[in-house]
């Protein structure tokens, strides 16, 4: 997996940073909109705390926007890397201190409001995934539990459940594929064009 951004991505990032630095409010909205879902997902998985993930994401964008305005980002084409690094640092801070807000240095930055719409829709997606998992057989649920929750390898799972490695892998693969496909099907329906985003406010 290459860490270098694709040319198109690099150009888009440079353009976005440039527009933000020139005071384009729409560009800030666009940045938040473009990255918020991934940032929230990363924070959620790292912290296993959905509420904290939301707060961390806000802190991330506050920090990123502040850095862009101040011209602290030396390589705009690596904007994604900057966002990822900021996310990781704030997650680590959270895990260490369990604090929700950064220091007051960020208070002068308008708090970017994360779009709550995806969060509201997440309840539907939550139900969908839960229902999908509930349909799995007991053994399948055990496989998934041991894999995703316990972090056990397929070899260990197969041994504990007294099934073959291939069977364990096939069953897990099937379940994961089902969950992801169903989830994506719902997510596709809920995607809104950025222009219709009702909740983002341009920072003042």
């Amino acid at each position: 997996m290459s860490t270098e951004p694709k040319p198109a991505q690099a150009i888009a990032a440079i353009d976005l940073v440039s527009r933000i630095q020139s005071g384009d409010a729409g560009a800030e909205e666009a940045l938040v909109l473009q990255y918020q879902r991934a940032v929230i997902a990363i924070a959620r998985i790292r912290t296993h705390d959905a509420t904290a993930a939301f707060d961390i994401a806000q802190d991330v964008f506050m920090a990123v926007l502040k850095a862009i305005r101040e011209g602290s980002i030396r390589e705009p084409e690596h904007l994604s890397a900057f966002i990822q690094g900021t996310t990781r640092n704030l997650v680590n801070n959270y895990l260490r201190t369990r604090t929700r807000r950064a220091e007051s240095a960020l208070d002068d930055v308008e708090e970017p409001r994360i779009d709550p719409i995806p969060n509201l829709e997440s309840s539907e997606r939550w139900s969908l995934v839960r229902n999908e998992v509930a349909k799995f057989s007991r053994m399948d649920q055990q496989i998934l539990l041991m894999s995703l929750v316990d972090g056990l390898s397929l070899a260990v799972i197969a041994q504990r459940l007294e099934i073959s490695h291939d069977v364990a892998r096939a069953r897990k693969s099937r379940m994961v594929r089902k969950i992801i496909e169903r989830f994506e099907a719902v997510s596709q329906k809920s995607l809104e064009p950025p222009s219709q985003n009702r909740s983002l406010r341009p920072p003042q």
Partner: protein, 378 residues
């Protein structure tokens, strides 16, 4: 390794699973996070996996508890045990059908009250079978795959069973060696409840199993009680000849004594004789049907119960409908079972509430079978 659909970089699901599970190394996690910021498809995938992880984590205890308790009933025990049960069922059925030899009828242990086919809880050959005998009791713990709601450790691979069709335990029968019986198994094992083409899910099989659970009906307590008193008016009004009436009453009383003593096999034998002694009151048929149902012979239980219903005069008619529904459920004939439950729920009385509740559950089960694509049972 399977690649995530639409991911341009071909991220595999294993990588995403490892990330969600927290088993990915730091460098790989960082690389993946960088990728996530550019790939909405992978973001969607990990969102889904994270929700699944959280859901499973919240139910981890339940999932583990059920799996732990079910180890006694993994398929390596269950399949031979069920095969043995089927042998007993066939042999017992054949022995009971020999009505001219009551004194030599073997005391056969009733087969466990399980769904007709063992297959609902056994996965197809293409998959490793799940721990098939993992029925749950209402409180979420595992129970024996028979209506007895205690003593889960009753199934052994040798086929000996101390299972009871209902709460009262029954004796363990000697398994008679029988080649013809074994041949019968291949026929009798053909399930009505489930075939490869219309396999129930574990949950559906469990629910069907619970629905078909048979509770012992209260013993006959009218004037002609099993305690040895004179037969009641119903018997007299049946127009039975005196000698036949006396013989029938005696057998009925003896049968009810066995019934009260929870010897349902003996009770069935005696009640069967009473039913064949001539005209008899509907109570004979009713308890005969109940005993046969308890003993694991739903097919044989239907006829006497249907006689009770046809008679129409007995106060046991609603209960007969209920037990007939149980017989149909044990045979997997759910449409008929539903009809019988509807009839049982018509008349006000003690049966109405139970029948109504069962009817709702049966309808829900049939709907779930329809929704899950399980082929409708006969």
């Amino acid at each position: 390794m399977r690649e995530i659909m639409d991911c341009e970089q071909g991220t595999t699901s294993e990588v995403l699973e490892g990330y969600v599970a927290g088993t990915l190394d730091a460098a790989s996690a960082d690389r993946l996070e960088l990728h996530l910021l550019e790939c909405p498809h992978c973001v969607s995938a990990i969102e889904a996996l994270e929700i699944a992880r959280e859901d499973l984590a919240s139910r981890a205890h339940e999932i583990r508890t059920r799996s732990t308790n079910s180890r006694l009933f993994d398929f390596r025990f269950w399949v031979p045990a069920l095969a043995a049960a089927l042998i007993l069922l066939v042999v017992g059925g054949r022995l009971l059908s020999r009505r001219d030899r009551p004194s030599t009828v073997a005391r056969v242990s009733p087969a466990p009250e399980v769904p007709k086919s063992p297959e609902p809880v056994v996965k197809p050959e293409t998959q490793q079978p799940t721990a098939p005998a993992q029925p749950e009791s209402a409180n979420g713990t595992n129970a024996v795959p028979n209506p007895t709601k205690s003593k889960p450790e009753t199934v052994s691979p040798k086929g000996e069973q101390s299972v009871a069709p209902t709460h009262p335990p029954t004796e363990v029968a000697q398994q008679p060696p029988s080649t013809p019986a074994q041949q019968e198994i291949s026929k009798s094992a053909e399930p009505k409840v489930s075939t490869k083409a219309n396999r129930l899910t574990d949950e559906q099989a469990l629910e069907l199993f619970r629905l078909s659970d048979v509770r012992v009906a209260p013993a006959y307590t009218a004037a002609g009680s099993a305690a040895g008193t004179k037969p009641g008016k119903a018997t007299q009004q049946a127009g039975v000849s005196e000698s036949g009436q006396i013989a029938g009453n005696t057998l009925f009383q003896q049968g009810m004594i066995s019934y009260v003593e929870k010897d349902y096999v003996r009770a069935a034998e005696l009640l069967d004789l009473a039913a064949n002694a001539g005209k008899h009151p509907p109570e004979v048929d009713f308890y005969l049907g109940v005993c046969r149902l308890i003993n694991g012979h739903p097919k044989d239980a239907k006829e006497p119960l249907q006689r009770v219903i046809a008679d129409g005069k007995s106060s046991q008619v609603p209960a007969a409908h209920l037990y007939l529904a149980k017989a149909y459920m044990q045979e997997g004939i759910l449409a008929e079972a539903e009809s019988e439950l509807q009839l049982a729920a018509i008349r006000p009385g003690t049966v109405k509430a139970e029948a109504t509740a069962l009817l709702a559950r049966l309808r829900a089960l049939r709907k779930s079978m329809s929704d899950s694509g399980t082929a409708p049972l006969p």
